[in-house]
Amino acid sequence: MTRGEKRNLGIGLAFISPWIIGFLAFTVFPVCASIYYSFCDYDVLSKPVWVGALNYRDMVTDTVFWKSLYNTLYYAFLSLPFCLIVALLIAVMLNQDIKGRSVFRTIYFLPSLVPVVASSMVWLWLLNGNVGLLNYTLELIHIKGPQWLADEKWTKPSLILMAMWGCGNTMVIYLAALQDVPRSLYESAEIDGANAWVKFRHITVPMISPVIYFNLIMGIIGSLQVFAQAYIMLGGGGPNRSALFYAVYLYQNAFDYQQMGYACAMAWILFLIILGLTWLATRSTRRHIYYEGE
């Protein structure tokens, strides 16, 4: 490296140093420290005491841990496919040449701009078993709606329903991908007599498959870390902890029960679960993803 290059490197590093220092202090250090704390009995206020793998062993027998994991996987496995499909359908519809298209696009995207606390408060009322709009609408078609948030059988479906409402970001990414699909492919297919479904199945889906894959991975990561809506709407996990999600239980351990060591261990297990599922998703979808130029 010449003197000039060294100088440029120094200046470059100096310019990005605010970010580097922030990243080291607020991301790298806490992540590394959490590995150490996960092997300690640590309550934040007093010094950590090394306990080996005790926190990990405790997790095996902690029934609430398993319940929170079950709740989270239930939520992720239902909300993720629904959200991917609903967002794709909306994106395909909004990609059609219809009047007022940009207005509709804005309307469907708007919910994802609403702060989560505000939307949660709105949904608390929408889902109210007695005076909620949802049950009122169901009553118009002679269906007796459930007590969405008071009945443990309906708390997770309620939150999944709520997740559908915020698919705007996913939809926008699909929309961008759909606009990149060359029109010539559709025209050739039309000449060959392909109908709308065949075009969608054999042109649209393969052409946007990298984006579907991207949304799938981001969805896995996001849905397994679901926290805010559940915490705001159902506090400690709702009736019989039916909506106690993994991240909520982790937070309770860290800040309510002052078991930071256990919370750190839980965080690492969650990291491994997400890593495993992402790897699985990558492997199982590899053959179905088509990149341009391949």
Partner: protein, 481 residues
């Protein structure tokens, strides 16, 4: 070129610092005129904060050595205090709860006040005993009270009159409360092709069995507001642990209490109760502090509530005719005047810069004059044993002496004093949820709670046993000088 690059880097840093300062509101604090400044964190807002601010102002004007700067309205003060103390930069004084004292003192995060209390000549006899006892843990004093509270039965006299009950005679036993509650409960039921409103005792046995009705008004619902569910056991003469090493989640008194809770959905129906609760957004504090509150809107006739209730009644239901009396126990002959008490306390976190000056302020608050001013402003009663007649005369709550009387009772109880109460409380509440959904019997529900929480308590005690001698020595040798 090199020079300009350096200027660029410096400028970049300067811009970041400027932006950071701007957004963190780095405005200059008011001058303290060379006095020692005490930082004080408090959770209150509104009229409660105004009352404390008046006492702080009086203290600041009463001398020229110490200046207390209060930061009010701190949400989740316990968590913030934990992080600030762990980070080595706590406030000098913090307003917290006795449960915080338990959790924080054992971990060495609070300053023992014994020597300073002794020097100031403050004694247990100066207080209503229970409020002094809540400030001590492991034989050391960690806090002094600011404002206390106790719970009592509040009842709606108008609804009593409509039900044909004497509006000036509250129930005197839990069984009598249940009978009155049935009388005060109004349901809507379809008879033939008509929807009729009847009182619960007027339903036929078949109708009671079918539970095919809608609850319009309820006499008493133990889940309203549902803030102290496991503590109902005190009204059955039970407790939540033996005070030393064993929890008692499966005691006969606990089972009896849980059977009483279960009798509610068995009588009125799980879904009917849920629908009734959802009609006023159950559990959220937003609906508590509003005209939606079922007690203010004549939907619930009797409720267990604290000394603060009068303040909200005067705000949201000023026309309401109400009364307050001790909540009756299952066996009133053996356990008269049962209540749950709690209080706000002032502590000095470990690492506070000016512990002696901080204690000066706490001592000032605990003098009769400032304490009465604070408690009157917050519409609570004084934790001190001696209170002036003028305090009661000026107090807006006509039943304030009832709250003092129950707080002085030997059956005034508080939440268990151990650091894992949060876990225990959550476990019991989860078990109660299942009981109220009629999914499990009380015996089935408490088994796992007993096992899980005892295991956690054992683990906590093991850790405490390891550091106990060392901590005790450190605390007894602590000298604020």
């Amino acid at each position: 070129m090199r020079f300009w690059n350096r200027v660029g880097v410096c400028g970049w840093w300067a811009a970041i610092v400027c932006i950071a300062l701007t957004f963190t509101g780095c405005s200059a604090p008011p001058p303290t005129n060379g006095r020692i400044e005490i930082s004080y964190w408090e959770k209150w807002t509104g009229f409660e904060d105004d009352a404390m601010q008046a006492v702080v102002d009086d203290f600041n004007n009463s001398q020229n050595r110490i200046f207390v700067r209060k930061l009010a309205g701190i949400g989740e003060v316990e968590r913030k205090l934990m992080l600030a103390t762990a980070g080595g930069d706590p406030p000098d004084v913090a307003g917290v709860w006795p449960t915080t004292v338990t959790a924080f003192s054992e971990k060495g995060a609070l300053t023992p006040l014994d020597k300073m209390i002794q020097e100031a000549g403050i004694k247990r006899e100066d207080y209503i005993p229970v409020f002094w006892d809540m400030c001590s843990y492991h034989g050391f004093m960690w806090a002094l009270p600011s404002t206390p509270w106790s719970l009592a039965l509040h009842w709606n006299k108008k609804l009593f009159r409509e039900a044909g009950l004497d509006p000036d005679r509250p129930p005197r036993s839990l069984d009598e409360l249940e009978a009155m509650s049935e009388r005060l409960t109004i349901v809507e039921i379809r008879r033939g092709d008509k929807l009729v409103r009847v009182r619960y005792p007027e339903l036929t046995d078949a109708e009671k069995q079918a539970k095919n009705f809608k609850l319009l008004q309820v006499g008493h619902d133990p889940q309203q507001p549902g803030w102290w569910m496991p503590l109902w056991v005190y009204w059955f003469g039970g407790s939540l642990w033996d005070g030393e090493r064993h929890i008692t989640a499966n005691s006969p008194e606990m089972i009896e209490m849980l059977r009483w809770l279960r009798s509610q959905p068995e009588k009125y129906g799980v879904d009917n109760r849920r629908a009734f609760g959802a009609s006023f957004a159950i559990g959220s504090s937003a609906s508590f502090q509003s005209t939606q509150n079922p007690f203010f809107s004549d939907r619930i006739a009797m409720t267990l509530q604290g000394v603060w209730m009068q303040n909200f009644i005067s705000k949201y239901a000023p026309q309401m005719e109400w009364g307050a009396a001790p909540f009756p126990a299952k066996d009133p002959a053996r356990f008269p005047l049962v209540t749950v008490v709690d209080e706000d306390v002032l502590v000095i976190p470990k690492g506070a810069r000016h512990p002696r000056e901080a204690f000066e302020f706490i001592r000032y608050v605990n003098q009769p004059g400032p304490m009465e001013k604070l408690c009157l402003g917050q519409r609570k009663f004084s934790p001190l044993a001696k209170v002036s007649e003028e305090f009661y005369r000026k107090h807006p709550n006509p039943y304030i002496k009832e709250f003092v009387e129950v707080a002085k009772s030997p059956h005034a109880r508080y939440e268990p004093r151990f650091a894992i109460w949060g876990v225990y409380n959550d476990e019991l509440n989860a078990a109660i949820d299942r009981i109220m959904a009629l999914e499990v019997t009380p015996e089935e529900a408490v088994g796992p709670v007993q096992a899980r929480v005892q295991w956690k308590l054992d683990r906590m005690l093991t850790r405490w046993d390891m550091v106990k001698d060392w901590r005790m020595k450190e605390w007894s040798e602590y000298d604020p000088r």
